[in-house]
Subunit: 337 residues, 2 copies
C-alpha cells in the first residue's frame, strides 16, 4: 500500500495536520518539527494521493480538450500548444475525440462536462449548434474553440475567419488572378467554419469587382483525400480557375497533389492558398502559401479563459479574437526576394 500522511505523522511523532502543513509549504512551523517531518517524508518516500486531495478540494487540475481528430495536423499542433501552456501553469490535459460526429459531441459533453472530474472543458466543435449546447451553461465551465456556432452565452476564442479569408483572396487578386475558386466545407448548416470562410471569400471577390458565383466547390470534410476528387470535378468546369483558396492546408495538399497528377502547373496555371499553416506546408512542392492562425495565442487565451471562469463562474461570457497572418510561399506566385 502507498504511504499516507498518517504513516508519516506516526514516524515523525506529530499529527497529520502538521505533516500536511509541511507538505503544502505552510508558514508558522517550528524549524525543529519541520526538519523532523521532512526527514520522515523522505525516508518513507511519501507521495500525496491526488485523488483524495481533489475530492477534498473539489478541483482536479485536469482540463479536457475535445477535438475532432488528434491526428489531423492542425488539431495536433493546437493540442501541442494547449498541453504545453497548460503544463506550464500546473494543469494536465485529457484529450477526447469526437470524430466530428455531432451525436458523439453531444454524448461527450453531457457525459463529461457534467459528471466527470475535469475542472473544465475546451471544446473544438465542428458540428454543434446552439440548441445542442443549451442546458450546459451552469454546469462545468466550457470554452468554445474555433467557430462560434451560435449565439450562446459561452466563452469563445477563435480568429476572425471572414477577415482572414478576405486577406487570402486579396493576395490572390494582387497576384493578378481573376478567376478565383474556393474549395472545402460541406456547406451544411452545422459547418460554421466553411460558412465564414466562404463569406470572406465572397466579400473579397466582390470588393475587387469580381463575381463569386459558381466558383465554389464543396468537400465532405477537410482532409487531403477529399480535395483530390473535388479538384478533378473543378477541372471540368467550363472555365478553369487561375486561383484557388482552400479552406484547410490538408485540402490544399490534396489539391496540389491532384493538380500535379492532372498536369496543371502551380502557381503558373493556378495559384493556391491554404488555411492553418500546418508544418508540412512549408516543405511541400511547391511550398504552400497559407493563413497562419496564432495557435499558441488561441491555446493560451483559451486556457486562461477557462481558469478565469473557474474562479468566477458567474462572470459574463466573453468573446476572444486572436490574430493571424498570411505566410506567402511558392504556391501563389513569384517569390518575393
Amino acid at each position: 500500500m502507498a504511504v499516507t500522511l498518517r504513516d508519516v505523522a506516526e514516524k515523525a511523532g506529530v499529527s497529520v495536520r502538521t505533516v500536511s502543513n509541511v507538505v503544502n509549504g505552510f508558514q508558522h512551523i517550528a524549524p525543529a518539527t519541520r526538519a523532523r517531518v521532512q526527514a520522515a517524508l523522505e525516508e518513507l518516500n511519501y507521495r500525496p494521493n491526488l485523488v483524495a486531495r481533489s475530492l477534498r478540494q473539489g478541483r482536479t487540475g485536469i482540463i479536457m480538450l475535445i477535438l475532432p481528430e488528434i491526428n489531423v495536423s492542425y488539431f495536433g499542433e493546437l493540442a501541442h500548444e494547449v498541453v504545453d501552456y497548460a503544463s506550464s501553469v500546473g494543469i494536465t490535459v485529457q484529450i477526447d475525440e469526437s470524430g466530428g460526429d455531432p451525436q458523439r459531441e453531444k454524448e461527450l459533453l453531457t457525459q463529461l462536462a457534467q459528471a466527470s472530474w475535469v475542472d473544465g472543458v475546451l471544446f473544438s466543435s465542428l458540428g454543434l449548434r446552439g440548441v445542442d449546447l443549451a442546458g450546459l451553461v451552469g454546469t462545468r465551465p466550457l470554452v468554445l474553440l474555433g467557430e462560434r456556432t451560435a449565439r450562446t452565452a459561452l466563452d469563445h476564442v477563435g480568429i476572425d475567419n471572414v477577415a482572414a479569408s478576405r486577406l487570402a483572396v486579396a493576395h490572390l487578386i494582387e497576384r493578378g488572378r481573376t478567376r478565383i475558386a474556393a474549395l472545402g466545407g460541406s456547406g451544411g448548416a452545422r459547418d460554421a467554419t466553411s460558412k465564414y470562410r466562404l463569406r470572406g471569400f465572397q466579400k473579397g471577390l466582390e470588393a475587387a469587382g469580381l463575381d463569386p458565383a459558381g466558383l465554389y466547390q464543396r468537400t465532405p470534410d477537410y482532409r487531403r483525400g477529399s480535395a483530390a476528387l473535388a479538384v478533378r470535378e473543378m477541372l471540368r468546369w467550363p472555365q478553369r480557375p487561375d486561383g484557388l483558396f482552400c479552406f484547410s492546408d490538408e485540402l490544399a495538399a490534396g489539391a496540389l497533389r491532384e493538380l500535379v497528377v492532372q498536369g496543371v502547373r502551380v502557381p503558373e496555371d493556378i495559384a493556391v492558398v491554404g488555411f492553418d499553416d500546418i508544418e508540412a506546408s512549408s516543405f511541400s512542392t511547391p511550398s504552400l502559401t497559407s493563413i497562419r492562425p496564432d495557435k499558441a495565442g488561441i491555446a493560451k487565451t483559451a486556457v486562461d479563459a477557462l481558469l478565469h471562469r473557474l474562479d468566477a463562474p458567474e462572470a459574463p461570457a466573453r468573446e476572444h479574437s486572436v490574430g493571424f497572418e498570411l505566410m506567402v510561399r511558392e504556391s501563389s506566385g513569384p517569390e518575393l526576394s
Copy 2:
C-alpha cells in the same frame, strides 16, 4: 452544490446503499424500489462523483500517454489510435509531452507514475535508458512504446526496426540502386531508434554485398527542417547516392523538398524511402514510399498490456512485437501498375 447519493436516497426514502446499487446496476433489487429510485435519480439529475468513486476503488480509469510531441504526425496518429481504442474500453487518456528531453522524461515519470491518479502509463521514450527506469518497477504500471532502450523488466511493445529497415533497403536494391545512404538520428547512446534502423540498413547492404561505410548522415532530430541541412551536406559527398533511406517520413519530406531545391530528381537520380507512413506521405510530390508500422496494432496491444498488468501486477514483463509493411509509391521508382 452537486446532487449526491444521499440527496437521492432521502428523496426516494431508501438508504444510500440501495441507490448505489441501482446506479451500479446490481441485481436483486425489488422492482418497486428500483423504480422509485430511478425516478428520484432522474428528477434530481444525479451524476456520480467520479473522484469519490476513484478514491474508494483505487482506480481512476485514466491512463497517461507520454510522448515527445503530439504535433509530430507520427505521434499524433499513434495518439489517435490510443485514444480511439482506449475510449472503446472505457478508458480516458491524458497526454503529456516530454519534448524528447531526457531530463523532462525523468521528471514526468517520477512525478506521474508514482503519485498521480493515473492507473498506468504508456511511455514513448526517445531518450531514456535502463538506469533512468530503474526504481520505477513496482510502482505504477508502465508500458514502453517504440524502442526498447534497455533490458529492463518492463512490458514493451514495438516493431522489429532492424527487420523493417532491412526491408526498406532490400526494396531500394531491388530497384537497382547500389549507392544507398541512410539519413537520420543523432547517433547518440540514447537514440535507440536510429541505432536499430542503422543496424538494419547496414545488414541490408551487407546481405547484398554492398559496403555501408561512409553512407550515413546524421540529423539532430527527426523533423523536416533537419533533413534539409543534412541533404545539402550529403550532396557534397565525393559520390552522390542513388538511394536514400530516411529514418522518418518527416525527414523524408524535408529531404524531398531539399532535393527539388537542389535540382536533383526523385526517383530518377535518387530513390527515397521513409519510415512511419504518415498520412501526408501519400500526397506529397512525389508520393513517398515508406515503412508502415501497424499503429492501431501498437495502440491496442499497449493498452491491453497495461490493463492486463493492472490485474496482474506481478506477472513477468512481456515483449510484444507488432507488424509492419512496405508501402511502395513514386519516390522509389517506376510505378508498379
